[in-house]
Symmetry: C2
Subunit: 427 residues, 2 copies
């Protein structure tokens, strides 16, 4: 055990040393490294897939479920996709070196802020091995060193991928030490990593709600917490029913396992009788299980005898729950105020939407709802760095400090004040 | 004890409730409240000074030193100054509601970020009662509720000032509960306050290095740590000696008790023999005690017999020390690299300066030194929100997360993403 912790500490120190040089690399060097990584993900497919096969074999032996196994598997298509994602990051502008808020003060001094990397980013994640590449690449592009701690179940894949990333990066001029993978799968290392303040500047945990909470509560350094989405869509009384069906259908069904998928549908009582049967039929066709409050249950029960519709009464525990599956709660409300009040009580502050043709209702909702992403007339599924035009993301923050919503390259940076004078002294 | 903690919890809840309404107040309402506070600081002088007199009497009885006592004292002049500071905040633009990074995406959705308050700011501070007003006013202007925890020695002054702030604010339309002062001076309350995550969104500690460290290590919520400045000024070999004397003199002497004052003077060996006697005479005239490394001691010793010069050899503990008084360390270096290396080792990441006429040296220093504020040819004493054009500050951050350097109104905010669509769904 002592050895694994010492190794972690020494990797941390190596990352810190590398981070100081990384901060001053040219965009050209960083992009060359990324292109080399993108190429190698394709050209070294055999090596990567062999390692992944080992993980998959062990996972099957250990009885891993199909959903988890699917997240673990790599293949030609997925590697090509990963390579494309890396290339997409190359085409993004380098965030480092941007100068902003610059001005000449009355005393002639020039004052401005210059964007700099945070330093060393730590990340702790589970199963999906693509995270190893995604986060490494975003950290390198933003001038940060990175310490990766993947899940035990993907250790061979992560080791192979990190090897590819490291070799390509260092051959392209990235300082050695900039990409560190913790190879020991000892769980005690996570606890130690959380205490490495002064070495790790920012920690990005990815995983389930309990794990994120554990990291937030125990980490000594700043953490970007997020990824937990209890998302509401409110269908207002002045509504285009077809739009409202399309938006709620998309928000629930397009990818139900992710954080920006719909969990609760709120419907104004004036349109509930018209709207609910429409969306219930669409959702029912693809197997969505609907947990209904009393009023929506009253409306949907008569059509609930259709064999494909799963319509059941909601329990108290259903509200404020993130389902990550084809389950949704439905509630009828009598006003915009009631909808906003329900969201204020149960939201996780991730993504919330209103569907309305009423201008004032839309404006009030956008103004009053306190969440990372607030929508009028669009699916909450859009909450994503790529979709918002950030090009890529390392995660989605539901906290207000530092950055909120999708975290792109800029959110992995800080700034320093640069003051250029000509002998000025303070009077 | 139980009662005091219950009272703290209930004040926290009241602040949270108020913060939700505060977030949507017009700039006009907030500015009206601030103007009313500025007026009352003058018109209610008798009431405030009577309370302050009580603190000062108790302080004298308890044997408080003159320097501490001076920080505690209020008088007509200081109240007028505080009122002027409040008026200056009125004239700053409201940070809330600013929309930035907005764009129309290819699918027609409009996406942008809208600036919102953080919520509830907690602050823990010592002696100087003006902090009660300064921080309250900056929080209100930025739409945040505030929980104030001043020092035991200023409790009567803080209570009187908070009463003025609250009464003026609530009469002007600020929601009741927005400004909370913890009146119990029980030290256990600080420990409890540090755990009030979910109630307090950001904690701003003001005080000595040990206290700040205690808060950073123990607070459950984000903390803006800073205010500790081990500041270096490096006099390069290509230098205008008069500028270098003026800058180092100002940085050390203009206000030696604050965090942006000079602690260490680094001098290139090529100019040390010319420069050091000049600055030593100027500093000596006002009583600066100089702790010299071997080489600078060798240069200054011959003139050190002058009775007004306090020139003594530096000890190992002198480097990286924040003196907050008329003490400076002096070291001769042989290169810009050695100067940057020394700063990297001993800096607290606050304010660092180079004095040079050499363009490349200035650029390298600005580029490579990692601190909140990096100067070429100006005094580090300028590190201040007011001086940088932010209008005011709640503190100076030496961390990289969220905000760095002087924290103005904008640094007390977060943002939310606003997405306006017309029925868009994710393909």
């Amino acid at each position: 055990m002592l050895t694994a912790i010492e190794e972690l500490e020494s990797k941390g120190q190596a990352a810190r040393v590398a981070s100081r040089r990384l901060a001053h690399l040219s965009a050209e060097t960083k992009d060359r490294a990324l292109l080399s990584i993108a190429d190698a993900l394709v050209s070294r497919e055999a090596e990567i897939l062999a390692a992944n096969q080992q993980d998959c074999n062990e996972a099957k032996v250990s009885g891993m479920g199909d959903a988890m196994l699917d997240r673990l598997v790599l293949n030609h298509e997925r590697l090509t996709g990963m390579a494309q994602d890396v290339s997409a990051v190359v085409s993004l502008p380098d965030p480092i070196g941007e100068i902003f808020d610059a001005r000449i003060l009355p005393n002639g001094m020039q004052v401005g802020r210059r964007r700099v990397p945070l330093g060393v980013i730590g990340t702790i994640y589970e199963s999906r091995p693509n995270v190893t590449v995604d986060i490494s690449v975003l950290c390198l592009k933003s001038g940060n060193a990175v310490i990766l701690r993947g899940g035990r179940e993907a250790i061979h894949s992560n080791t192979a991928l990190a090897k590819v990333v490291r070799e390509c990066a260092y051959q392209s001029g990235i300082p050695e030490g900039a990409v560190q993978l913790i190879e020991s799968t000892d769980r005690a290392l996570v606890g130690h990593m959380l205490k490495m303040k002064g070495v790790i500047d920012l920690l990005i945990p990815r995983g389930g709600a309990e794990f994120i909470k554990f990291v937030v509560d125990n980490a000594a350094m700043p953490v970007v917490a997020g990824g937990i989405g209890v998302c509401h869509t409110y269908v207002d009384k002045d509504v285009d029913l077809d739009k409202a069906v399309a938006i709620a259908y998309n928000a629930k069904v397009q990818r139900p396992t992710v954080c920006n998928a719909l969990d609760t549908l709120l419907v104004h009582s004036k349109v509930a009788a018209d709207y609910l049967p429409k969306i219930a039929r669409e959702w029912g066709n693809v197997g969505v299980e609907m947990h209904c409050d009393e009023r929506s249950f009253g409306i949907l029960k008569p059509i609930g005898h259709l064999p494909e519709l799963k319509i059941i009464p909601a329990t108290d525990e259903d509200w404020g729950k993130e389902f990550l599956s084809l389950v949704a709660t439905i509630k009828v409300v009598d006003s915009l105020d009631e909808a906003i009040g329900h969201i204020e009580r149960y939201s996780s502050g991730h993504s919330e939407a209103i569907v309305t043709e009423n201008y004032s209702a839309a404006m009030r909702f956008l103004d009053e709802v306190d969440a990372a992403c607030v929508y009028a007339n669009a699916s909450t599924r859009f909450t994503d760095g790529g979709q918002f035009g950030l090009g890529a993301e390392v995660g989605i923050s539901t906290q207000k400090f530092h950055a909120r919503g999708p975290l792109g390259l800029r959110e992995l940076t800080s700034y320093k004040w640069i003051i250029q004078g000509n002998g000025q002294v303070r009077p």
